[in-house]
């Protein structure tokens, strides 16, 4: 119950303004070396899908997409260096890596045309970016091997594989993209897909893929957002993971932001937040309440919230 409360609160906060009006997201998507035509085509297509999604979502977003021959180490370095120069601390930085990776027991490398780039080199480049809130999504094979190098306070690291030894090609990227184009990933319906929601969606769909194909799962996605702990398969209050990811808006899919920025509606928004907190508290207390009492109180609160929202929408 405590876990649910923590994440509901965080998600609600995120919906109302975790990203300030002046903040801009920097999206960098890199499709690495495919090695064979099928993979090359698949990686490029996924990167291009993300490019479209990010560009459509926000006019102030900075979107960089590197595919095919463009996704060299030099080009990636240049792109990240440029963002390091331009971005402000209140901005958000999102790096998504699609392709193959390798891990030799010590060093993770993202396979790119020409020289590969190591997890450590990537970390150095990302560390230079002043954005205080960062998200790195490494969907490659062996990506679990990159977590140690990439993790940092204020940065969420998501990897498609639990360790560097899960070396088979992954399908996580496909479902990560699906998470961003499928409204069902927005489970709290706050019209924003958080990093945690996208992670949970992609992880679930990946597991379903292997289960339906009756194949032994060769990838187990993990997440780490404290900057100092072991990455986990499932976030919870107990393991302390997920708080930052729940509040990190990866993509807005509705008009929530407009209302948040309208001073005329501030009082109504305050009222709405108050009811939301009340609902969270009710849900937290559910186990200790009779079913009828819970239903009545929840029903009343939800109705009240709906009426406030109706006013806000006018």
């Amino acid at each position: 119950m405590r876990t649910a409360l923590l994440f509901v609160c965080c998600a609600a906060c995120a919906g109302l303004g975790a990203r300030s009006a002046l903040a801009a997201p920097y999206y960098v998507t890199v499709a690495g070396l495919g090695g064979e035509p099928d993979y090359e085509q698949r990686f490029t297509a996924l990167a291009k899908d993300l490019d479209k999604i990010f560009k459509a979502a926000s006019s102030d977003a900075h979107v960089y997409t590197l595919t095919g021959g463009d996704s060299t180490k030099a080009h990636l370095t240049d792109t990240l260096s440029q963002i390091a120069r331009e971005a402000k601390p209140e901005d958000e930085f999102i790096l998504i890596m699609i392709g193959h990776g390798s891990y030799d027991g010590e060093v993770y490398k993202f396979n790119l045309p020409g020289p590969d780039i190591s997890g450590e080199d990537l970390a150095i480049l990302c560390d230079r970016i002043p954005a205080k809130r960062q998200l790195i999504v490494n969907t490659t094979s062996a990506s679990g091997g990159s977590i140690g190098a990439l993790q940092k306070a204020g940065r969420i690291v998501i990897a498609a594989t639990k360790t560097g030894t899960e070396k088979n090609a992954t399908v996580f990227a496909r479902y990560w993209v699906d998470a961003l184009r499928d409204g069902s990933a927005d489970v709290d319906k706050n019209e924003a897909i958080s990093a945690l929601e996208a992670f949970q969606f992609a992880d679930r769909k990946t597991a379903e893929f292997y289960a339906s194909q009756k194949r032994l799962a060769t990838e187990h996605a993990v997440i780490e957002d404290t900057g100092k702990k072991e990455a986990v398969r499932t976030t919870s209050a107990e393991n302390g993971e997920g708080s930052l990811a729940a509040s990190f808006v990866l993509l807005r899919i509705g008009a929530a932001q407009k209302a948040a920025n309208d001073p005329a509606k501030r009082a109504m928004l305050d009222k709405k937040e108050e009811i939301e907190r009340k609902i969270d508290l009710l849900k937290y207390q559910k186990a200790a309440m009779s079913a009828d009492d819970y239903k009545k109180q929840l029903s009343d609160a939800l109705l009240e919230l709906a009426r406030v929202q109706e006013e806000l929408d006018k």
Binding site: D188, N190, Q200, K295, D313
Partner: protein, 743 residues
């Protein structure tokens, strides 16, 4: 090995003249031999036999020690002593034969097989080694069992055990007359051939005659010979007479409470008829007493896993699902079971005397445990009287099987086994069950596979009178599948030529215990040989073109696949059509229909893609991605009713698909089929979707549209509980409240 030891070993097998009366009560101060001990045991002198075996354990000869330890159930030590004996006498074949027999008795058929073959390397004319190989093969219903047994008899005509085994194998093949003769042959060699007597008893029982005379003969020789009853029970179970079989397993353990093999079979067969408590007790007793063969251990594991299952009872239907998918599957299975019972009650003109239990296993290995020790594939479902065990749709990759078709198939067995009181040959009940699959819908059931086409081409179909052999003891890898197909088509043929009532007449004839030749003569009015000929002529008219053009079709299909890869779409369409006309039933992976549909789509001809995918659907194709694509195209072309019907078909193939239910729910909702929409949206919720709020909201609006406001309110609250800010649900809640307040 010492020369004395070798002589003793020889005596075990060749000296039949043992004075049992003299041995009983002997103190074994003198040197006993293994066959002295075996003879005591065979005659039921247990204590004396045990002392006899104990005396062997003190021998200086490792081989004799091995026999002694084996006889006193110290199997590990017996194995060690056999190893020593074999090392000391590397050229001795008989030690390896006996060692192999120990391995066979202790559930290690791989090692047993190796040892019998090693024995044959040392002595190529060793009848006992061939007999050992036959025992191993017989365990797996391998057709080689008969070949090895014949060889053993050829090499040693006096080996009565081989004649006993041959009698049992022939009885498994339903060749009662030859089984009878072989049992007699064994008794002629040894008037104390107990298993031969048991085979005679089984023949009598299977023919609904009294087995008492034969059982009494067994008791006179050895009143504790439980193996005889167990052998009878094995044959009853093989003929699906589970209750009768259970009674004989009980007699077996009554005669010999330590006969763990029979006790394990009692437990396993009690499980098959749906019991849990007694099977656990019996199987645990076996396990605790060291009887830990694969069947026993796996059955106990399966019993443990039942805590993860949930049972639904509704009148005559008992459904058992794994908890993780119970909510999803229950409505579909229950609805289908009701439809099946209503159809079969009318068709077979009978009602079932007891509820039917259907167990649905998401883990194929659990299902496999339920079918262990049974002949044939047992691949998708199996019926044990009034209990059906089957794979869950989630137990196999999407599209690999049609669960509803399987359920109709198994339920046909339930009716036919009940109608005939289990007196029906395997070929007929399987054939009728296969026939029923396409009777429900011509789109259901399996189509003729390339293996079957090849079998017809190579003239491998069996005469109807011998068709059971194809199920019990296949002689080539796919003969079971070929036999299913043949049996099904025979029933199709009978219905087409004589009408459906003729099939029912045959059911009644089998119930009256007629043989297949008699049934063919009496009900169809012709000799079985004439029936075979006329059936093949009929079959040829249906599939003859496919059979005669099989090689050309293969070449063409290969080319279609290559052309599709190279995106030569016009060629794909032309050659795909040619391949399709040669073998229209080929709907399996890499079929022309899907290649052609992709070519049509690539060329932008969506109506043509719909046409070819519809043809695929109608002829029995049920690959989920292809059918989903068809539904999607039908929607695009403004045919939502067709799209919904296509997706509805997928529910019978692979309902473990959240997106399928959501989309079908939307389609039904848009077409005002609110009952359908409610069922589908409930299925979404049963799959614990990531997006709980939308799932609950969709269900709420479907309930509201269906006029069930209370349920609509419950589900809209559930939606908002998951996502309080979900605008559509908020609006629906306000709408509900306003309407309650009369606004």
């Amino acid at each position: 090995m010492t020369s004395r030891g070798t002589r003793r070993l020889a005596r075990i097998f060749f000296n039949a003249a043992v004075c049992v009366a003299c041995l009983a009560g002997a103190s074994f101060g003198w040197s006993a031999t293994p066959d002295d001990c075996h003879a005591l045991r065979k005659h039921g002198h247990r204590l004396e036999a045990e002392k006899c075996y104990e005396s062997l354990t003190a021998s200086r000869d490792p081989y004799l020690r091995a026999e002694g330890f084996w006889g006193t159930e110290q199997y590990q030590e017996a194995n060690n002593q056999f190893r020593i004996a074999a090392d000391e006498s590397p050229k001795n074949a008989m030690i390896r034969v006996r060692w192999g027999r120990l391995m066979h008795e202790r559930f290690n058929n791989t090692e047993a097989d190796n040892l019998f073959n090693e024995a044959l390397q040392r002595d190529p004319k060793n009848a006992q080694a061939y007999y050992g190989l036959a025992l191993v093969s017989a365990d797996g219903f391998d057709s080689k069992a008969i070949e090895y047994t014949s060889k053993a008899i050829e090499l040693d005509a006096k080996l009565y055990e081989a004649h006993e085994l041959m009698a049992s194998l022939l009885l498994e093949d339903s060749d009662d007359a030859k089984a009878f003769a072989e049992a007699d042959a064994a008794l002629k060699i040894s008037p104390e051939a107990l298993d031969a007597m048991a085979i005679h008893a089984a023949i009598e029982l299977l023919a609904d005659r009294s087995p008492d005379a034969w059982l009494e003969k067994i008791r006179q020789i050895n009143p504790t010979y439980g193996e005889g009853y167990a052998l009878v029970a094995d044959h009853l179970v093989l003929n699906r007479r589970y209750e009768d079989g259970l009674a004989y397993y009980r007699k077996a353990i009554e005669a010999d409470p330590k006969l763990w093999s029979a006790r394990a079979q009692l437990g396993i067969n009690l499980m098959r008829i749906g019991q849990e408590d007694e099977p656990r007790k019996q199987l645990e007793m076996c396990y605790e007493n060291g009887y830990r063969n694969e069947e026993t251990v796996n059955s106990l594991r399966l019993l443990d896993s039942y805590k993860n299952f949930v049972t639904f009872k509704d009148g005559e239907i008992i459904l058992k699902f794994n908890k993780k998918e119970a909510d999803l599957l229950h409505p579909y299975f229950e609805e289908e079971m009701k439809r099946i019972i209503a159809t079969y009650d009318k068709k077979y003109k009978m009602t079932l005397p007891a509820p039917v239990q259907v167990e649905v296993y998401p883990d194929h290995e659990d299902f496999a445990v339920r079918t262990m020790g049974m002949p044939g594939l047992g691949a998708l479902g199996v019926t044990f009287g009034e209990v059906i065990a089957m794979d869950s749709p989630s137990g196999r990759p999407p599209g690999e099987f049609h669960w509803a078709s399987t359920l109709w198939h198994e339920m046909s067995h339930v009716y036919i086994l009940t109608a005939t009181n289990f007196r029906v040959p395997r070929w007929f009940t399987e054939g009728l069950a296969v026939h029923e699959e396409t009777e429900v819908s011509p789109e259901w059931g399996d189509r003729i596979t390339p293996d079957v086409v090849a079998a017809i081409r190579d003239k491998k179909l069996l005469p109807v009178a011998e068709l059971d052999r194809g199920f019990i003891r296949p002689e080539y890898p796919n003969q079971v599948i070929v036999s299913y197909y043949q049996a099904g088509r025979i029933c199709d043929y009978i219905k087409e030529r004589w009408g459906a009532d003729k099939l029912l007449d045959m059911v009644h004839s089998y119930a009256a215990h007629k043989t297949t030749p008699d049934v063919i003569r009496a009900d169809l009015g012709m000799a079985p040989e004439d029936f075979d000929k006329q059936f093949l002529d009929w079959l040829d008219k249906d599939v003859g073109k496919t059979v005669s053009n099989f090689d050309e079709w293969r070449t063409k299909l290969k080319d279609v696949a290559a052309q599709a890869k190279n995106k030569n779409y016009d060629v794909v369409l032309k050659e795909g059509e040619e391949a399709r006309s040669l073998y229209p039933d080929y709907v399996y992976p890499a079929n022309p229909y899907e290649f052609m549909a992709q070519a049509d789509i690539a060329k932008g001809d969506k109506p043509a893609a719909v046409a070819i995918l519809t043809a695929y659907e109608k002829i029995g194709g049920h690959n989920p991605p292809a059918l989903k694509q068809l539904a999607s195209l039908e929607e695009e072309l403004g045919k939502p009713a067709d799209a919904a019907a296509t997706l509805e078909r997928l529910n019978y193939v692979y309902p473990v698909d959240e997106e399928l239910h959501r989309h079908l729910g939307d389609l039904w909702f848009a077409q005002n089929n609110f009952r359908g929409a409610i069922r589908e949206y409930n299925a979404v919720i049963a799959m614990s979707p990531i997006d709980k709020a939308s799932a609950q909201f969709n269900l709420a609006r479907a309930y509201l549209a269906a006029g069930q406001k209370d349920k609509a309110e419950d589900h809209v609250l559930a939606s908002l509980e998951a996502a309080p800010d979900f605008r559509p649900a908020q609006k629906l809640l306000l709408q509900l409240k306003d309407s309650n307040e009369g606004k």
